[in-house]
């Protein structure tokens, strides 16, 4: 025996065993490292966009420049310039004041106008505003951009002014709530995810409302009622193949049928939901059938034995017991629909839409499509906002999956 263990052949075989085992561990390890690196990379990229540099300005609503009877005609940009020149009393040059005013996001003027329109009594008063800076000024202060001007033009004056303000402690950086409360915008500091979020929500609701009843009914028919014949064979093969059709093809179907033939509104969550419902239907049918199959036949037989009809046995006894499994499958299917973007590109959900949709027929976009849209924009500030959008999407997906796991754990029964 010791001779055998020391023979070169045995040593080689044992070495091969160790090498093979290590290869397997490495394969899993590489996958894990990729995943960790991906998530860490996205998180690090997202951090700069999570806060927004703001400056506290005392803005005087000068009654000479705005009329309570006609607020819309008021010179609101002038109020901003006045309050900035109050911050920099030594700067008197008009063009320099203008340069400084350009560092403040245009949302300040818009907000001011909205506030005064809603409450004309503010005219003549001084209000304190936490004014967000533009994305370029923001990136400069965070050290992402070396200069304020993204094109590399001379912007030393603005940089000096920003640094003075920072030294005076007048610049804060609170959490960027605008990311969650605003719709999309061309200006990075004003762009938010609310529109995409509402679009995704509508799409998911429509997908759920359509795909769940259809999927469960089809599964019930195939598992409990159908006789084995040519038709059911066809349906079965068909469902298995449909589950593996590329998602972009479903988008082409939506474009050709829902938009061109039925004339449903382009870019609407309604069409998006319809397309994604068809996309996840096979997944839901397959999961529901597995759940129905796992209910022991004795349950059904007992119900039939006490005089229930076939349908009563299934709807009163088998279906309720299969429901947790069905719901778990459905949630995973809907989570897939939430992350899907290729079919939505086909039905025109890639347009720039600033308004938050309020109806399912409004033009809208969805969270993953928003990721795609922002990632293709040239501004560096949008890149970190894209990462925030991705993190929001991943967190939503994680919630769905956690819900599915909880359902499975809570209601799982072993027969």
């Amino acid at each position: 025996m010791p001779e055998l263990a020391r023979s070169p052949r045995t040593i080689r075989r044992y070495r091969n065993e160790t090498i093979f085992r290590w290869l397997c561990v490495c394969a899993i390890g590489i996958t894990a490292i990729f995943l960790v690196f991906l998530l860490a990379n996205l998180t690090i990229k997202a951090i700069p966009a999570l806060t927004q540099k703001t400056i506290t300005l005392a803005i005087k609503i000068d009654p000479e420049k705005v009329d309570a009877a006609n607020v819309a005609a008021g010179d609101f940009p002038a109020f901003l310039k006045d309050s900035i020149s109050a911050e920099f009393p030594e700067t008197t040059d008009k063009s320099e004041i203008k340069k400084l005013a350009k560092l403040i996001s245009s949302s300040v003027v818009e907000d001011l106008q909205r506030k005064v329109t809603a409450q004309p009594s503010l005219i003549g008063q001084t209000i304190s505003v936490n004014a967000p800076l533009t994305a370029d000024a923001d990136s400069f202060l965070k050290g992402i951009q070396a200069t304020v001007s993204p094109t590399g033009d001379n912007s030393e004056f603005e940089e000096a002014a920003l640094q003075t303000l920072q030294k005076q402690g007048k610049i804060q950086s609170p959490f960027a709530w605008s990311l969650l409360t605003n719709g999309d915008s061309r200006a990075p500091e004003k762009a938010g995810l609310l529109g995409a979020f509402m679009g995704s929500l509508y799409i998911i609701l429509i997908t759920l409302v359509l795909a769940l009843p259809l999927g469960v009914s089809a599964a019930l028919y195939l598992e409990e009622f159908a006789r084995k014949n040519r038709f059911t064979d066809l349906v079965e093969v068909n469902i298995n193949n449909l589950a593996a059709v590329p998602s972009i093809i479903f988008g082409l179907l939506g474009l050709a049928v829902f938009l061109n033939i039925f004339g449903l509104p382009r870019s609407s969550p309604l069409v998006g939901g319809l397309v994604l419902a068809l996309l996840v239907l096979p997944t839901i049918i397959i999961a529901s059938r597995a759940a129905l199959r796992s209910v022991p036949p004795s349950i059904k037989e007992a119900a039939l034995g006490v005089g229930a009809s076939h349908q009563q046995a299934i709807f009163h006894h088998v279906l309720p017991l299969a429901m947790p499994g069905i719901l778990t499958g459905t949630i995973l299917g809907v989570a897939r629909a939430l992350g899907e973007s290729a079919p939505l590109l086909m039905i025109g959900m890639v347009a720039f839409i600033a308004d938050v949709p309020t109806k399912i027929t409004d033009a809208a976009t969805a969270l993953p499509v928003q990721v795609y849209l922002w990632s293709s924009l040239p501004e560096a500030a949008f890149r970190s906002r894209t990462s925030v959008a991705i993190l929001a999407l991943l967190i939503m997906l994680l919630c769905f999956n956690a819900l599915a796991i909880w359902l499975r754990k809570r209601f799982e029964r072993r027969w």
Binding site: N16, G339, N401
Partner: protein, 307 residues
């Protein structure tokens, strides 16, 4: 007994049950209708495309320039681009996915399995648009910088970046399918091999893998089908240049990228440019359908073997 049957409830039962039954049948017909809808709608638009562009010049043309003054719709550069990226993806995903599956099925302790499996599921659940962003903004610049270190010119949108990330996308698919088939190999076959004095890796390589081969092959085929149909990663990372090349460092374009490019912006349903998207869609549908049918056949035969 007849009084019982005649009660109100039973009348209802006899009335509603056929209705419910019909509804259930109707629901399962929806899935069939979807397939018919896909085939008819995509085929109808493709037919209109082929009235303007000949089938031969589409299938065998080597020049894809739909926006040129005299547009040309040659499919060959698109399919070579698609196959190049799929090949890179499979070179990454086949060993990683298969070895991961072997680890999970044969080596992993129950504790290791319960950590490793959700990890793969997490990767499988990441939307492809996220992977596309990662490929375009992290992997592609990295490859470009690494290439510059060695004096190799890598284009900003290279097939390699898209292929590598797509490979990582496919790893969970291959590993979960292979894990299932490896687990389905009867334990008696392993025990027989151990009894002959084989080590664990010898058993896996000489007994388990050959027995599971049909299932693994079908997992690979499904993975290839998935890679060919994948859209977002290539749209974001592979680019639009229809280069007829097998150089992984060059920019290539794929079928799905061009479907997307043809339909973005103004759609005119009488111009061959817009209609070409449907012809590409039909080709993509046919290719993936054939791959899926082959894979399902292989799996079915394999299941019968061990049933």
């Amino acid at each position: 007994m007849s009084a019982l049957v005649e009660t109100q409830k039973f009348k209802m039962r006899r009335f509603t049950e056929p209705v419910v039954y019909t509804l259930l049948v109707a629901a399962s017909v929806v899935a069939v209708l979807t397939t018919i809808g896909i085939v008819l709608s995509v085929a109808a638009e493709s037919l209109r495309f082929f009235q303007q562009v000949s089938l031969a010049s589409f299938l065998f043309g080597t020049d894809w320039s739909p926006s040129a003054p005299i547009p040309s719709f040659g499919f060959v550069p698109l399919i070579t681009g698609t196959l190049l990226i799929t090949l890179i993806a499979m070179v990454v995903a086949a060993p990683l996915g298969l070895l991961s599956a072997i680890y999970l099925a044969e080596y992993a302790s129950p504790a290791a399995r319960t950590t490793a499996k959700p990890l793969l599921e997490l990767l499988a659940g990441i939307p492809t648009v996220v992977l596309g962003f990662f490929a375009a903004l992290t992997v592609a610049p990295f490859i470009r910088a690494a290439g510059a270190q060695f004096g190799i010119n890598v284009e900003a949108e290279s097939a390699l970046a898209a292929g590598l990330v797509m490979g990582m996308m496919i790893v969970p698919l291959i590993s979960s399918l292979s894990d299932d088939v490896i687990n389905a190999v009867p334990q008696a076959m392993r025990d027989g091999s151990y009894a002959m004095g084989a080590t664990k890796s010898e058993t896996i390589r000489r007994v388990v893998l050959p027995a599971a081969l049909p299932g693994i092959v079908s997992a690979f085929i499904l993975a290839i089908s998935r890679a060919i149909g994948e859209t977002m990663i290539v749209v974001m990372a592979a680019g639009l240049a229809p280069n007829l090349t097998f150089n992984p460092l060059a920019a290539v374009t794929t079928v799905t990228v061009q479907i997307n490019a043809m339909l973005v912006g103004d759609q005119e349903f009488d111009s061959p440019k817009t209609l070409s998207a449907f012809a590409l869609g039909l080709t993509l549908f046919v290719i993936t359908l054939i791959l899926n049918i082959v894979a399902l056949r292989v799996v079915r035969r394999y299941k019968e073997q061990y049933a």
